[in-house]
Amino acid sequence: MLKINNLHANINGKEILRGINLEIKAGEVHAIMGPNGSGKSTLASVIAGKEEFEVSEGTVELNGEDLSDFAPEVRAHKGVFLSFQYPIEIPGVTVTNFIKTAINETRKAKGMGELPAKEMLQMIREKADLLEIDRKFLSRSLNEGFSGGEKKRNEIFQMAMLEPQLAILDETDSGLDIDALKVVANGVNKLKSEKNAVLLITHYQRLLDYIVPDFVHVLYNGKIVKSGGKELAYELEEKGYDWLK
């Protein structure tokens, strides 16, 4: 589904990704770990098409299609979803209005009409229940004054609504309390299928107990320096990153 070949990316000439190779197949869960500043969020942003980053070499392909010419919204329409490490506030725009706009814009791009209000409402209820989100929460301004954990849960709510092919979760676990982590992980697991894939970015092995990865990769200084199975996460938890340098 996702194929990254020798990806190099820089911001203002500062090279951050230095030749990344990664392949994720439908139905798989991959985890990326690595020290602060190693380029994990950058990789996520580049896959999502953030224009501040310049791709100097390499490609990102989704289902065999090179994404490089596609704007971020087009990538989203094609099924790329990014749960932000730091979700952005949009004052005055309610969670409901935002997700409604996102869904209808995506449908429009696919040549479909707007989702009827009744179905939209039903879907919102269903997914809010799945993630144990209070209805009142949905009429608040997007991310404004949300606690760290609320922001993360809301990201996953949006993911649940948009049903992406490829979900990239950038440190969704940070900021969640233990109960919330279980709820969110459970939500992600419920949405997983043979047709979609998940890329988890995390610092903690704990998340991987709940969402079990097929592969774990270590990103260091803009490169994947080691890949392995789930057990690699335990090894990192124990030894840190020094031994990989």
Binding site: S45, A48, G49, K50, E51, E52, A71, P72, E73, A76, H77, V80, F81, L82, F84, P87, I88, E89, I90, P91, G92, V93, N97, F98, I99, T101, A102, I103, E105, T106, A109, S141, Q158, L162
Partner: protein, 482 residues
């Protein structure tokens, strides 16, 4: 409150007499350029006005001649040459039309673009409407329904003929001829506008609205609106404005006077979309408007405005809170793009005890535009326990535009409670990327963010118009982020 079905509307339209008929915008009866006493007299004559009105105008003209244009506003422009403008233009009358369907489609399109079409009028059958093209009112709908309740809603030219006692009593009572340069000019040459009177204790069963349109080139438009809400009455009024795109600047100098007698409430909403000039800043309407309302005891006046048009906007809808316990409100969204300049705000003059005012101003600037909020909160020595809350927020797009805030606060009574908050924010790349990532393109994202920013004000608009106003915001910011 009466509910009107589409059928009721159809019937009403069938039986309705068009006092002026519908006019086309192609041919028009237009005065030669220039302004002197003869022109003022000629305007008055054209309208068949009584002598007292002619005198009133001449007096205003003499006052105006001695005045100079104000320069304190934060706007730069080439001053209009007042002798190069034609002061009267009316579409030449064509045969009477039988229904609104026969309205010039060009005109319909224009109203549609403004956000409220005549077609819309059919659907939203609880809106009565007056249409002023260039200088003349061309249609007033729902007259009969309103008449039954004793509500007068008609062109001011008609009110001068039919209700001289009301006009004489109130015209110029809130905005005197001497008030300012543009108000004096308007008093001398105003050609038409709307007049509205709500009798004691009557709640107006529908929105009243007026559409103003400048069509002819080289003309100025000077409307005069006078709205009187008698004791214990309620009315919600909406005005919309458009003008075609022209290379030259066009002058629009209107005066609006509101009178809310004891326990009355007036909600006055404006959706202003005069031609803003092109991308290079060429052309556009100079919008110099004086709007003021007087509140007697327990009365309330709310001004809500969505200002997206005009090259220059100079406008401060104000409230004189004369009666005890009276309330003044000002909710504003002003959008400037390209080379537009807006200097707008309000004055809240607290004279009575326990008077209360609220000011919510949202300025959005894009392109090379400048957007200023200018507001005065004045608490007079005898106004005990007056309260004001002001909030002025600015949203900037790009780094070539400017937002400015000029709050003036004059408190002469120690019991006053005044709160002022101001914020300035930018639409950030991060916000846009976040929206993009959810499948929302940049244009739509801006609309979403801007509507969120202006929400408190948009919520104050009559429901029927809120959606349209949102669309208008979208249109006026098109292409504002490259």
């Amino acid at each position: 409150m009466g509910k009107f079905t589409e059928d009721d509307l159809k019937k009403e339209l069938e039986t309705k007499e068009y006092e002026y008929g519908f006019y086309t915008d192609i041919e028009s009866d237009k005065f030669p350029i220039g302004l002197n006493e003869d022109v003022v007299i000629a305007i008055s004559k054209k309208k068949n006005e009584p002598a007292w009105m002619t005198e009133w105008r001449l007096d205003a003209f003499r006052i105006w001649k001695e005045m100079t244009e104000p320069e304190w506003a934060n706007v730069r422009y080439e001053k209009p040459s007042f002798q190069d403008i034609s002061y009267y233009s009316a579409p030449i009358q064509k045969p009477k039309l039988n229904s609104l369907d026969e309205v010039d489609p060009e005109l319909l399109k224009t109203f549609e673009k403004l956000g409220i079409s005549i077609g819309e009028q059919k659907r939203l059958s609880n809106v009565a409407m007056d249409i002023v093209i260039d200088s003349v009112s061309v249609a007033t709908t729902f007259k009969k329904t309103l008449n039954e309740r004793g509500i007068i809603f008609c062109p001011i030219s008609e009110a001068i003929q039919e209700h001289p006692e009301l006009v004489k009593k109130y015209l110029g009572s809130i905005v005197p001829k001497t008030d300012n340069f543009y108000a004096a000019l308007n008093s001398a040459v105003f050609s038409d506008g709307s007049f509205c009177y709500i009798p004691k204790g009557v709640t107006c069963p529908m929105e009243l609205s007026t559409y103003f349109r400048i069509n002819e080139g080289g003309t100025g438009q000077f409307e005069r609106t006078l709205l009187i809400a008698d004791e214990g009455s309620y009315v919600s009024y909406l005005e919309g404005c458009t003008a075609p795109a022209r290379d030259e600047n066009q002058l629009h100098a209107a005066v609006v006077e509101l009178i809310a007698l004891d326990d009355a409430e007036i909600k006055y909403s404006t959706v202003q979309n005069w031609f803003p000039g092109d991308k290079e800043g060429k052309g556009g309407v100079y919008n110099f408007v004086t709007k003021r309302g007087l509140c007697e005891k327990n009365a309330k006046i709310s001004w809500t405005q969505v200002e997206t048009g005009s090259a220059i906007t100079w406008k401060y809808p104000s409230c004189i809170l004369k009666g005890d316990n009276s309330v003044g409100e000002f909710y504003s969204i002003a959008v400037t793009n390209n080379f537009q300049q807006a200097d707008t705000g309000t004055k809240m003059i607290h004279l009575g005890n326990n008077t209360k005012s609220t000011i919510i101003s949202k300025g959005i600037s894009a392109g090379h535009s400048h957007n200023s909020y200018r507001g005065l909160v004045q608490i007079s020595p005898r106004a005990n326990n007056a309260r004001n809350f002001s909030q002025c927020d600015s949203l900037l797009m790009g780094d070539k535009c400017g937002a400015h805030t000029f709050p003036y606060i004059e408190v002469k009574n120690k019991s006053a409670q005044i709160e002022h908050e101001a914020t300035t924010s930018k639409i950030g790349e991060d916000q846009l990327f976040y929206c993009n990532q959810r499948g929302i393109n940049t244009e739509k994202a801006i609309a979403l963010i801007v509507n969120g920013f202006g929400k408190e004000v948009l919520n104050k608009l009559p429901m029927e118009f809120a959606v349209e106003a949102q669309k208008l915001l979208e249109i006026s910011l098109e292409g504002s982020v490259g």
